[in-house]
Amino acid sequence: MRRAAPLLKPQDTDAVRRLLENRNFLGFIFMLPGSVLLLLFLTYPLGLGTWLGFTDTKVGRAGQFVGLDNYQFLLGDAVARLSLFNTLFYTIVASSVKFALGLWLAILLNQNIPFKSAIRAVVLLPFIVPTALSAIAFWWIYDAQFSVVSWALMKMGLIHSYIDFLGDPWMARMSTIIANIWRGVPFVAICLLAGLQTIPPSLYEAASIDGAKPSQQFWYVTLPLLTPIIAVVMTFSVLFTFTDFQLIYVLTRGGPLNATHLMATLSFQRAIPGGALGEGAALATAMIPFLLAAILFSYFGLQRRAWQQGGSDK
């Protein structure tokens, strides 16, 4: 990248002034506050976490290097294996539903409707309020004795006794997934809506002149043009869902019978109240390969984007 060289007056050539025009020196100074903080509180903990996973550190006691003992222990631990299953189940089910509902909502919001911008603003509310607090509302909605959902279903005559939403393992899994979907759909919908708005309407006009039915327009115009942004949005969605913590912590704390423990909540429980920092760190580190897979997916999603927009691949 070439740029016009700054014009310096002859008498102005003292070292400080020249140093301040040097882009490497100035770049270093500008990067300093952010990178010091990120190195100290992001990069270092990332390495430290991996290291702790190989030690038997407890709260208040420095650990010894124990190699793969933690991982071996976790592999043989039924609760840890269950948490892996729960995490995958939670992520796959919640993300697919969030994608389907989010895309549907985005398409609805992209129509010509009255109060369009107000509706869009309201739709995002579940995403912006603190998850821990909206989870409390769900906790109350899922209450075994006073659930308003049970009450309504009873009045409609659909069920005969109150549903124990958070007491039964599969019921609890589905209930937490529904709460997660409720929170995640607005994010997916608003991001996909931004993508939908970049598709020129002339493409739909051309397609319909060629005789394409609405379903064909969706499959052959909307989806291919939306693929890059779907890839990115879903990567984020999968990342958030896979590492979810607050919703489970508030609703069930991993119960009943560990049926809703995700890897994040289990590593918290083992490390902080349980005091086994090494074991918790190993559990957290075990999430990294899955996250890397999601990030690589995003990378290739982004690569494809330049080509799809008519630009050339770099």
Binding site: L7, P45, N112, L125
Partner: protein, 293 residues
């Protein structure tokens, strides 16, 4: 990215071809159901927080409706608990963490995008990767570090750790904004003898105000909503933030004070909701911008 939103507002070319009854079934009805489901928990929060304890556990009558509204739960929350302190902590932590992150992100984004120092591309990619590191895998080693630094159970623990997710986000977003500012403006200023710092404060920043607002609003709500760090690094009640305080302190044993819990959840959501309502467009631009760049 912001012009995308406006550009396509009035371009729904072929909608007149769809008849009204069909539109009702295909568009308005599903949209109405979506809205009811998405907003019901908020309605439920409001209604519950205004009901008296007796009304909450009564099985007769319609639970969807309020018979005898009362403010007792709010009164209890504000005068008998540490709620005001949690609120104050959340405000202080969010504001300080946001301002610090915004300042260092402006410098970093400008350096990466415009100074183009050697290795700036790699640093930019590193920032993006840092954005993808979730707090759930960092909190254990961070707790260890916070403890070693003697910051455990202080606001500083949160003020220093929140920027780990705020700086990557803000920098990434601002890089996109700075990219849209024409080079020529800076070149003119350079020829006129302006220093880099002058260019940044007098030319680039005024042009990037929408981006700064987007990043600031989004960063503020992210720190307001943060849960796992605040839960791990803070132990005494008077140092907690609202989300953690409501979840951990308002539940006494097996007795759930649903009215107070809902009032706490409601009051804790109102500041971000108000902030959001003032800056909806900026917030959406920030959210979609970070995803689209």
């Amino acid at each position: 990215m912001s012009q995308d939103v406006q550009e396509v507002q009035d371009t729904q070319g072929m909608n007149y071809l769809v008849s009204l009854p069909r539109r009702v079934v295909v568009i308005y009805l599903p949209l109405l159901i979506f809205l009811i489901v998405l907003l019901f928990p908020f309605y439920w929060m409001v209604v519950t927080s205004l009901k008296s304890d007796a009304e909450l556990i009564s099985v007769s009558g319609n639970p969807f409706w309020l018979i005898d509204p009362t403010l007792m739960h709010f009164k209890k929350l504000l005068f008998d608990t540490d709620y005001p302190a949690w609120m104050w902590n959340t405000v202080v932590v969010s504001v300080v963490a946001t301002l610090f992150s915004l300042a260092s992100s402006v410098l970093a984004a400008y350096a990466i995008e415009r100074l183009r120092f050697s290795g700036s591309r790699q640093v930019g990619l590193g920032i993006f990767l840092a954005y993808l590191v979730p707090p759930s895998i960092l909190f254990i080693p961070l707790a260890y570090i916070v403890f070693k630094l003697g910051l455990y159970d202080t606001r500083w623990a949160l003020i220093l750790t929140y920027p780990t997710f705020l700086i990557p986000f803000c920098t990434w977003l601002l890089m996109g904004y700075f990219r849209s500012i024409p080079f020529e403006l800076e070149e003119c200023a350079l020829i006129d003898g302006a220093t880099r710092l002058q260019i940044l404060t007098k030319i680039v920043l005024p042009l990037a105000v929408p981006g700064l607002i987007s990043a600031g609003i989004f960063a503020f709500t992210l720190s307001w909503n943060e849960f796992i760090y605040a839960l791990t690094f803070i132990s005494s009640s008077e140092n907690k933030t609202v989300p953690v305080g409501v979840v951990t302190e308002l539940v006494e044993g097996d007795v759930y004070h649903w009215g107070a819990l809902m009032a706490g959840a409601l009051l804790g959501s109102v500041p971000v909701a108000v902030m959001y309502s003032f800056f909806v467009e900026h917030y959406v631009a920030g959210m979609t911008g970070a995803v689209k760049e």
